[in-house]
């Protein structure tokens, strides 16, 4: 198995040396000598130049001398000290001294931070997910809270989370809003229901035409549901779009579709139809996916139900709808429901992509329409004869009747859209508080106690029970109605420190941490029962639970949260794609960006669910893409909105480094950023973040005459310049930039290129460990063969940090090594790594762990 048996041993040895007292003593001596030789002559009792005395500087970094040590390191790093007229250090001596001193500083800082608190605040995502579970809603409030701090190297900083008055206020406000919707007044009829089904032209428009310009617009506003007389066929690469006179921005919705799978008219058999159902708050970017559907081969009507929350389908525009509004583009303010057939269309050219439309035909009113309605009400003839097409697509007769002859297709029989949708009425959030279908003031305190026990993740003590009762009693005493009092009591219970903070002491806390690790939410009844039943949860019990938790759909939260932190979605979200460099992204950017992020999560989920080796993150022969992303990468024959595993294209291969999200996040939106990519590979893939650049980095001297005349410089040439100029920058950048330079063959949006705008041809050949690496594919091979152990260590560190909710410090090195060994022995299976982590001493003990001296 292990092709490099020595590596492990060497790593252990290094760890040993770093902790050995002899080595420490000799390093101390070296630092004394260094200071004595180069510093103390000017910085002593008599001279103390610049008011700095170093003759009495203690060798151990402490609170007293921390600032002074930082100053010493800073000045030597910058080359300001020793001054030019004093005795100069050798490069070797300087490096040695700095590396020792920086290590001491880091340790001091880690220790100072490492004062462990018995409480850990839930992250914003954990709070949001807990509310979903406790209140049976689908709302996600994390965005309404003040953002959690982000670690620039992708490690967890949960241990540092704190809160402020404004945080509590925003949180309470968000809670109140959720409760207003989750626990609406208990009227027999649902409030504000928007339901379309059948004949409802007040609420729904059908778009069957180019809708971009006045005069070309043909919105049907007739008296009948179009499907009553006009079967709506959706052949491959066609779409049907409905505009709903409703654009509220919150609440759950349900779409019910009755579809038929029809064979081609030429008598060929039926084929499965891959359908995407999309929803957007406006008509501008109408391709926000609700869910993919596969309509299986079967005769007759088939029903499908899809659910979503409007918050996930917010448009770029959300204007109030004015009933009589007929100003140009008024329909753009409507909610859009788009049903797309993704199947392959053969023998017809696809229409051009125009603004925010996909290369897909609209099903449009033609002969059938005229036949059904005679004179077409509300129909404005198209000025340019451009009849039922997107923008500038080819003119001529409609494609769909022709397409149906040779392609299987789908027929829409019925569409229903309902919002706000509740799984039950009264809504699920209220159900636990009802007695015989009603709120009963006498019963509610008891129900609130059950709720509080869930929310606080513990059995209530007698004092807790009295506390909960008094919350309710005070609300009622203040004259609130039962519903108001219930909502307010819930807000109080959920503002309690017992909800907001995890404690780390007993079995309960262990299972809580387990469920917050793998579900990002509170434990369920099975976990709680385990904590009740056993005094000590042994490893096999915990491992069984890991399997169960990872199979549950809530594990998706773990996948998304971990990937977001590891890949750095925060940074991804901040990078705007510059349309001057990537014109194709002008109107599609929003949609494809979401898919880029999703690719990372789907890939990760695939590795986890299929129990594949985590080395797949370095290189894989498969990628996970949907149709849009496949087109972006130039992968043929993916005709589904679903993310499916397909063979990795030869020019880019698989693994995370080939993923566009990572390339884009480590760019500036215009060009790839080799240094950022290098840092990303070091910190995220190899778990070895380079140290921060010293402040006030001196700028690189301008390129000499020759370089200037020869045109713009590549990152590689810049690095070489550093080497030539002998700047201190080179010391660090020589270990960062090459990693990124090897990926220069791919631009900011992750596409292959041979030249760089404004910078000339791509230079991507570099040397690492005396091995020449020319481009992304060789880089991935290099990582796989020469950096396997280091990747395993990096991945272990990231996963451990995520599980513990804090960064990994030097004190964890032994744990990391042990975990890494087991990880390797398992064949780099993620499931195995997770199990090793949650059964490790450091995880079990949580913050109760004694800090070793």
């Amino acid at each position: 198995m292990n092709r490099f048996p020595g590596v492990h041993f060497i790593l252990l040895l290094i760890a040993y040396v770093a902790f050995s007292p002899d080595a420490a003593v000799s390093a101390d001596k070296d630092r004394v000598a260094f200071l004595k030789t180069y510093c103390v002559k000017c910085h002593n009792t008599e001279k103390h130049k610049g008011d700095v005395r170093l003759d009495q500087l203690a060798l151990r970094v402490t609170g007293d001398n921390h600032e002074l040590w930082k100053k010493v390191v800073h000045n030597i790093q910058r080359g300001d000290m020793p001054p030019e007229d004093a005795k100069q250090t050798t490069t070797e001596e300087r490096r040695e001294f700095l590396s020792e001193a920086i290590q001491l500083l880091t340790r001091y800082e880690e220790d100072a931070k490492g004062v462990r608190d018995p409480l850990v605040r839930l992250t914003n995502n954990q709070i949001a997910h807990s509310l979903q579970d406790l209140l049976q809603t689908h709302e996600h409030i994390a965005d309404q809270l003040i953002g959690d701090p982000i670690d620039k190297h992708g490690f967890s900083r949960q241990a540092e989370l704190d809160l402020s008055g404004s945080y509590l206020q925003l949180y309470t406000e968000a809670l109140e809003q959720i409760l207003d919707r989750a626990m609406p007044p208990m009227k027999p009829v649902r409030p504000g229901l928007f339901l379309i089904a059948g004949n409802d032209w007040e609420r729904c428009h059908w778009a069957g035409d180019n809708y971009l310009y006045v005069g070309h617009r043909r919105l049907y506003e007739g008296p009948k549901w179009i499907g009553d007389d006009f079967e709506i066929p959706i052949p491959p690469k066609h779409e049907y779009r409905m505009f709903l006179r409703e654009n509220r921005s919150k609440g759950r919705f349900r779409i019910r579709l009755t579809l038929r799978n029809e064979p081609p008219e030429n008598g060929q058999p039926r084929t499965p139809q891959e359908i995407g159902v999309y929803m957007d708050q406006s008509g501008r970017h109408p391709y926000k996916l609700v869910d993919p559907i596969t309509v299986p081969v079967k005769a007759g009507p088939q029903e499908f139900e899809l659910f979503g929350t409007l918050e996930d389908h917010l448009g770029v525009v959300s204007d109030p709808i004015v009933a009589a509004d007929r100003s140009p583009g008024y329909w753009l303010k409507f909610r859009t429901l788009t049903i797309v057939n993704h199947n392959r269309l053969e023998g017809f050219p696809l229409p051009a992509r125009f603004m925010w439309t996909e290369p897909i035909y609209l099903v449009r009113p033609d002969e059938q329409w005229i036949k059904a309605f005679g004179h077409t009400p509300g129909l404005i003839p198209s000025a340019n004869g451009n009849n039922g097409t997107h923008g500038n697509e080819a003119k001529g007769p409609a494609v769909y009747p022709e397409a149906m002859k040779t392609h299987g297709y789908v027929v829409i029989e019925k569409v229903e859209f309902e919002t706000p949708f509740f799984e039950s009425w009264p809504p699920p959030a209220v159900q636990p508080f009802l007695t015989a279908g009603k709120l009963d003031g006498k019963e509610i305190p008891g129900r609130l106690k059950v709720f509080a026990a869930k929310a606080w993740r513990r059995q209530l003590s007698a004092a807790d029970a009295i506390h909960v009762e008094s919350i309710w009693a005070e609300e009622i005493a203040a004259g609130s109605s039962e519903l108001e009092a219930l909502r307010s009591s819930i807000v109080t219970i959920l503002s309690d420190p017992r909800f907001l903070y995890l404690r780390q002491s007993n079995n309960y806390d262990l299972i809580c941490r387990l469920s917050y690790f793998l579900w990002s939410g509170p434990p369920d009844a099975i976990l709680t029962a385990l904590a009740d039943e056993y005094d000590h949860l042994d490893d096999s019990l915990i491992e069984q639970q890991v399997d169960r938790l990872l199979t549950d759909k809530r594990a998706r939260r773990f996948i998304e949260d971990f990937v977001a932190q590891w890949v750095d979605f925060t940074r991804f979200d901040q990078i705007a794609i510059d349309p001057n460099y990537y014109p194709a992204f002008k109107d599609r950017g929003l949609r494809i960006r979401e898919y880029m992020k999703q690719e990372c999560a789907e890939f990760f989920a695939h590795v986890l669910r299929q129990d594949l080796s985590c080395l797949s993150f370095l290189e894989s022969d498969f990628v996970l893409v949907n149709e849009t992303l496949a087109e972006h990468y130039g992968i043929a024959d993916v005709f589904t909105p679903r993310f499916v595993p397909v063979a990795a294209p030869a020019h880019r291969g698989g693994g995370v480094l080939a993923q566009a999200a990572i390339m884009l996040a480590q760019s500036n939106g215009q060009d790839a950023h080799a240094v950022n990519r290098g840092v990303w590979i070091r910190s995220r893939l190899l778990g070895d973040p380079p140290s921060d650049p010293p402040p006030d980095v001196p700028s690189l001297p301008e390129p000499s005459g020759d370089a200037k005349t020869s045109g713009p410089v590549s990152v590689k040439q810049r690095l070489d310049l550093h080497l030539k100029a002998g700047t201190t920058c080179y010391d660090c950048h020589k270990d960062i930039d090459p990693w990124g330079i090897a990926t220069e063959g791919f631009d900011a949006v992750g596409l292959l290129r041979t030249t760089i705008q404004k910078a000339g041809p791509v230079v991507k050949k570099i040397v690492i460990d005396k091995q020449e690496i020319d481009g992304l594919l060789p880089l991935k091979q290099f990582l796989l063969t020469h950096r396997q152990e280091q990747f395993a260590q990096g991945f272990t560190r990231h996963m451990l940090s995520f599980a513990l909710g804090r960064p990994i410090t030097y004190r964890d090195e032994q744990t990391v090594l042990a975990l890494q060994t087991e990880f390797k022995e398992s064949g780099y299976k993620m499931r195995s790594l997770i199990k090793s982590i949650v059964t490790s001493t450091v995880y079990r003990q949580g913050s109760q762990a004694k800090i070793p001296e």
Binding site: V316, T492, Y501
Partner: protein, 434 residues
């Protein structure tokens, strides 16, 4: 009612002991005794741009040291000495954004593609001084609400970069600031006392957990306690304002039921409310989105005025010049006439030091020089001389213009908000200061 709640709480805090809660002196009360002439800001925005050329050109020319206005801006002639026109400024990050996608960056300087904006000029000022007035700021807009990304209906983004919905509810504004009707007060009382009850309950939990932790000190728990105290302070602040009688102004002459059907009356009423808000020191900062780039009702106003097209269409057609340019110019005049009325009133109202206009900076402009062009914003500053501004000039920063954020940083400093940076600023604009 309010008194009872307060006594109840204080007794509660004292009575339970254990934790010493020192109730702070409220800064809002300080404004009763301390004489401080307010430093104010009014930021106004019109999307799509103005007619910039010809007789109807928006920019004044400098003739013998005097600003001379074209037909659209004639109403400003008597105020010429109080006005400075800025040319060449823009938000560099927005230049390549969509032609109608820069409204939310106007007052924030944010990258238009960023999901979370940076705080807007008015909100930074309100964060620093907003506690001194009943309302930290007014966020106003003819269309109202948030609008969409890029095409926002609001100019203001809070300290966390979230949009603040603009209000177009004239009566609501009046009620909030000036109406002392006891039924209105009751709702707020109910809300505040409910919040206070919650704080009290959760404080109990805090004590219980602290007891359980014993000697295992938790800093986080202490910070949680601090957070509760901050919430409590805020409740106290609101309660004190509630107990403080609202300023008495006469509603006579305020057309609080005006709608977009009578656009001039609507805007005039909004301006009157701003004037009253400033005069009574109910707030010191107001942002007002006069014309957003995705308006529905308000986009049609020029049609109502007989100018033959929506504001959007007028702005597009203006590029062709001639009559089309005049049509947009006429709409610019509609806006300018109303604004000049407000500014004249500010200039005519004396206060402790100088006039209201002396202590108020008015910023008026657009983020399009012509439609779809996101460079060289037409911008005008009025008043604020007592805050250190020098007026009566034209500054053309030309091609090498600094970022517009430099202007905002300068204004922040003039408003006595010490800031070293605003969004992508690279320094201040000394030119506009005396």
């Amino acid at each position: 009612m309010a008194k009872r709640i307060q006594i109840h709480r204080r007794t509660f805090l004292r009575g339970t002991g254990g934790v010493a809660l020192s109730l702070p002196l409220f800064e809002c009360m300080a404004s009763d005794t301390e004489v401080e002439t307010p430093k104010r800001l009014l930021a106004l925005y019109v999307g799509h741009g103005f007619a910039l050329h010809g007789d109807w050109g928006w920019y004044p020319t400098l003739v013998e040291g005097q600003l001379r206005f074209g037909k659209s801006m004639e109403a400003f002639t008597p105020l010429a000495k109080r006005i400075t026109v800025l040319q060449g400024l823009e938000h560099p990050q927005c230049v390549s954004a969509g032609g109608h996608s820069t409204a939310d960056s106007f007052l924030t300087g944010s990258n238009p593609a960023a999901a979370v904006k940076s705080p807007s000029l008015d909100q930074i000022a309100a964060t620093a001084h907003g506690h001194k007035t009943r309302y930290p700021s007014l966020v106003l807009g003819n269309e109202g609400g948030l609008g969409g990304e890029g095409r926002s209906n609001t100019l203001s983004y809070n300290q966390f970069g979230r949009g603040i919905p603009a209000t177009n509810n004239l009566r609501g504004l009046y009620d909030a600031m000036f109406n002392s009707d006891p039924t209105l007060q009751k709702d707020q009382h109910t809300r505040l006392s409910r919040e206070q009850r919650r704080v009290d309950r959760v404080l109990e939990s805090y004590r219980e957990i602290k007891r359980q932790l014993g000697r295992d000190d938790s800093q986080k728990l202490e910070h949680y306690m601090q957070a509760l105290r901050d919430v409590e302070k805020d409740i106290e602040r609101l309660e004190l304002w509630m107990d403080k009688p609202k300023p008495q102004v006469t509603a006579a002459g305020l057309a609080l039921d005006a709608t977009v059907k009578d656009p001039a009356t609507f805007i005039r009423t909004m301006y009157n409310l701003i004037y009253l808000a400033f005069q009574t020191d109910s707030t010191r900062y107001a942002s007002y989105m006069l014309q957003s780039m995705n308006s529905s009702a308000w986009d049609n106003v020029p049609i109502q005025l007989g100018l033959g097209g929506t504001h959007h269409i007028l702005a597009h057609n203006a590029v062709q010049g001639g009559e089309n340019l005049v049509a947009l110019g006429k709409y610019d005049k509609f806006q300018a006439d109303l604004l000049a009325e407000l500014i004249t009133k500010l200039a005519d109202t004396p206060e402790v030091e100088g006039t209201m206009l002396d202590n108020t900076i008015v910023l008026y402009g657009s983020s399009n020089s012509q439609t779809h062009v996101n460079t060289d914003y037409p911008l005008m500053l009025v008043g604020g001389e007592k805050l250190g501004l020098r007026q009566g000039a034209v500054h053309d920063f030309g091609k090498q213009a600094p970022p517009l954020s430099n202007l905002y940083l300068t204004l922040l400093n003039a408003l006595n908000v010490p800031a070293a940076q605003f969004s992508d600023s690279s320094g201040t604009l000394a030119e506009i200061m005396a």
